[in-house]
Amino acid sequence: MRRVMIIDESRCVGCEACVLACKNENDVPAGMYRDWVTQEARGTFPELSLSIRSERCNHCQDAPCVTNCPTGASHYRGDGTVQINRALCTGCRACIAACPYGARFVHPDGYVDKCTLCAHRLDRGQGTACEEVCPTRAIAVGDADDPTSEVARRMRRASLYVLQPEAATRPNVAYVR
């Protein structure tokens, strides 16, 4: 099992429902976010294009945060996602310095926090909060090793890409255009 999130950029309308759902579901403190929406305008008038992306921790397979964590607080779960064990976190923030995606923040209680890919919901057989609330079904979460899954179908598309491929982190979160 390799849990992945594939986001269809062409479906995203930038409503930010994913951001609000995540904050509600995970009780994310005010002013902090586990996911966010980026708008990228490209080109020169009149040949312009706009892409909108819902971004978060990329749950990398070669995660610099896991490598640099001195206590083992940042670790890989059995399904391939990257999680933080709060009991082990010292708040040294080496993981924040190492993350190429700026996906982590310090929770007011002191530990480092980020997207868990709603591991607690996935364990109950539910989808992630952002996936379930997305009105255009731009977000899909599933098992990359299951060829019949929606994510596997999306991963076969030629337009599949990951953020910062030059960082060589092999993200489990990917996008299609």
């Binding site: 708008q39 305008a41 490209r42 964590c69 010292t90 923030r93 310095a97 190492a98 190429p100």
Partner: protein, 315 residues
């Protein structure tokens, strides 16, 4: 940034948080760690090469300062932690791939070495009858004196590990172009060694020892300049993010401090004054090592802050 690409993050995490990840505590720790590394290495080299009788009173006082300075540095690290109650977690794990884990254990390992070296080579005001006593301290002192060579080698290795790791800590994070260089380990080692020698020059009173330290410092400054040159040349010959990072310290926001106080005031000027003093054209002034120490501190301030100002992968 490519003029034809405009990125607007409506809910950018970096934008929402705004603050710098690592603040003043980290450069303070990196400086004190490097300084202790330099002091340890300098005193141990003198003990190994020239013998314990050539370890002067000033050097012994410098050695005595190492546990105090390292404790201050570790205090800064503790202040930096956002989950302070979990500080002991550093010592419930060892992760070979994490430089900070190496650093935690290196810090712990050098304390007993420093303590035993101080027992073997104490400054005059700590000499006393207790050294010959039958108590634990007396026995430890006699053991340390008998094993000074081994202790000095351990001190040299511990100092080198401490000095290198402070640079590797930054370069291993990989997400900041200014830090993304193997040269940082060598740079921080050379800078720490130079700071340690400079600190000894501040308290040294014997003329011959001053000359010896001065010669050593000129060599270390020369080595530091070479490594700085390699580090910046590597940045300038890579991609736009690396050039932007180099530009930040060479002609951008941090250039006045880096070029003025680190390169000129902290390296070139003191090296020139030390050469003049060795040729007898100027006196050995305490201002010279003070400039080296100030430059060493500012080097770490610039690298830590400027490093975080230019991300490798802009959001």
């Amino acid at each position: 940034m490519d003029p034809h690409v405009e990125i607007e993050s409506t809910r950018s995490l970096a934008g929402a948080l705004g603050a710098t990840n690592w603040g003043w505590e980290i450069p303070v720790y990196l400086f004190l760690g490097g300084l202790v590394a330099g002091l340890l290495m300098a005193v141990c080299v003198v003990a190994l090469v020239r013998g314990r009788e050539r370890v002067t009173e000033g050097m012994r006082r410098g050695l005595l300062a190492t546990p105090v300075l390292l404790s201050l540095g570790m205090g800064a690290l503790f202040v930096d932690l956002t989950y302070k109650l979990h500080v002991w977690r550093f010592y419930t794990a060892f992760k070979a791939a994490a430089p900070m884990s190496w650093g935690s254990w290196i810090l712990l390992a050098v304390y007993p070495v420093m303590a035993l070296l101080v027992l073997a080579m104490p400054p005059a005001f700590l000499m006393g009858a207790w050294r010959e006593g039958a108590g634990t301290l007396g026995r430890l002192t006699r053991w340390s004196e008998a094993h000074l060579r081994g202790l000095a080698m351990a001190g040299l290795a511990g100092g080198a590990a401490l000095g290198v790791y402070t640079g590797v800590l930054l370069s291993a994070t990989g997400a900041q172009p200014l830090w993304s260089s193997g040269a940082l380990g060598a740079l921080f080692l050379a800078s720490g060694a130079s700071a340690g020698v400079a600190a000894l020059m501040l308290v040294e009173r014997e003329h011959d020892a001053k000359e010896l330290l001065s010669r050593a410092d000129i060599g270390l400054i020369a080595a530091e300049l070479v490594v700085v040159g390699l580090w910046l040349a590597a940045l300038l010959t890579q991609g736009p993010a690396f050039r932007a990072a180099a530009g930040l310290v060479l002609w951008g926001e941090y250039a006045p401090v880096f070029v003025g106080f680190v390169l000129f005031g902290g390296l070139l000027l003191p090296a020139a004054l030390e050469v003049l003093a060795l040729k007898g054209r100027a006196a050995h002034s305490r201002a010279v090592p003070a400039l080296v120490l100030l430059g060493g501190m500012l080097l770490r301030v610039v690298i830590v802050y400027a490093g975080q100002a230019v991300p490798l992968f802009p959001a």
